[in-house]
């Protein structure tokens, strides 16, 4: 999604109506209840919430020039990796084995065997089409934000093909866009 993403991709940038802001806040809160105590700091009601529309039905939620969440079409809002690094417990986690790290860095989607091998870890509660944080064997911090193509149980039993779409990963265009100035 963000492999070749840069400021030039932005087609519009708007401060949205109060009702829309409220709806965005609400869906983020529902998706990430763990953020409740800091949501007012992250998305202060006083500072405008900027919604940035980009090609490929991508939307960024930006506060004080910092991208905090993104979503595709009507999908769930997902945190940027820098935000997730600050609040690592707000998302369910998968872990890829060490061998998969370099593929994730190149933007590749996450194949089932990378999650089911000895170095991988699956949270069995995760359903299909859910946002999930991708960690890596031997590393502390998340390296990607994924969107599951199948449930964790199916990933385990089918163990073939793409298990999780790689939405946002370290050093992609969104990562490099630490601020929008």
């Amino acid at each position: 999604m963000f492999k070749k993403f840069s400021l030039e991709e932005i087609s519009s940038q708007n401060q949205v109506k109060a009702s829309v802001q409220r709806r965005i806040r609400q869906s983020i809160q529902e998706e990430y209840p763990g953020l409740e105590t800091v949501l007012e700091d992250l998305l202060p009601k006083k500072s405008p919430l900027i919604v940035v529309k980009c090609p490929n039905h991508l939307t960024l939620v930006v506060v004080n020039n910092v991208p905090l969440f993104f979503c595709i079409r009507d999908g769930p809002y997902m945190p940027t990796l820098r935000l997730l690094h600050q609040y690592p417990n707000i998302m369910k986690r998968f872990q890829v084995d060490r061998g998969a790290i370099k593929f994730v860095f190149s933007g590749a989607n996450i194949m089932c065997p990378g999650l089911t091998s000895p170095g991988g870890v699956l949270d069995e509660e995760v359903d299909a089409e859910r946002p999930v944080a991708i960690y890596a064997e031997g590393k502390q911090h998340a390296l990607a934000i994924g969107f599951t193509k199948m449930s964790a149980k199916d990933i385990k039993s089918i163990n073939k093909g793409i298990g999780v779409d790689n939405m946002h990963y370290l050093n992609d265009g969104l990562w490099k866009m630490e601020r929008l100035d």
Binding site: L7, T37, V38, H85, P88, I101, F105, L170, N171, W175
Partner: protein, 198 residues
């Protein structure tokens, strides 16, 4: 209300911006290494060892060169020694002594559109021909009556950003102003492809 969540502190690499533990998968691990040795030695214990070994190598290099000069004073330098020294001088004598050996000597020109209308022309690589970027930036600004500045590009390498589209005149200007830059070493980036200007 539950207690407020405290944001975790993450050590990001000062060179490549990734969490330091991921530098080894980043764009240029070699460049991160000195920073990591300083700031995150526990993450990469091997690096510290490597750095120490290098330091030791340097010392032994120095000892060796002392050996060579004393041999010369005796008036009987062995052939191996003379071979060694002449090789060193050859490297030094390369045109544009500041040039890093690994990097290809070329100038890259790219036009970038900002805010739909505004456009800048990015010039990279002049420094590889021994040209001082601050001087070059001043000359470009003067010649094209526009703003030009030396900025750090995405890879932390310095480049010159010139306001406006000067892509049609810039090649001639470069080759006229700095005859050391051959036209065949100048490239444009067009639609993501590198195209020779000549």
């Amino acid at each position: 209300m539950a207690e407020k969540l405290e944001p975790a502190k993450v050590l990001y690499c000062g060179v490549c911006s990734l969490p330091a533990e991921y530098c080894e998968f980043g764009p240029d691990f070699e460049r991160c290494k000195p920073w990591l040795v300083e700031n995150a030695p526990d993450l990469y214990p091997d690096l510290l060892k490597e750095a120490n070994e290098k330091a030791a190598d340097n010392v032994s290099d120095k000892l060796q060169s002392v050996g060579i000069s004393s041999g010369g004073a005796d008036g009987a330098p062995s052939s191996a020694h003379t071979g060694g020294t002449s090789k060193k001088e050859e490297v030094k004598r390369l045109p544009g002594g500041k040039v890093k050996k690994k990097e290809r000597q070329e100038v890259i020109i790219e036009k970038v559109v900002r805010n739909k209308r505004k456009c800048i022309t990015i010039v990279k690589g002049l420094e590889l021909f021994g040209i001082k970027l601050s001087d070059a930036s001043k000359k470009l600004g003067k010649k094209f009556a526009t703003g030009a500045s030396v900025v750090k590009g995405p890879t932390e390498k310095e480049q010159i950003d010139v306001q406006g589209d000067i892509i049609y005149d810039i090649v001639e200007f470069i080759t006229d102003t700095w005859p050391d830059v051959p036209e065949r070493s100048i490239y444009f980036i067009e639609d993501g492809k590198k195209v020779q200007a000549a």
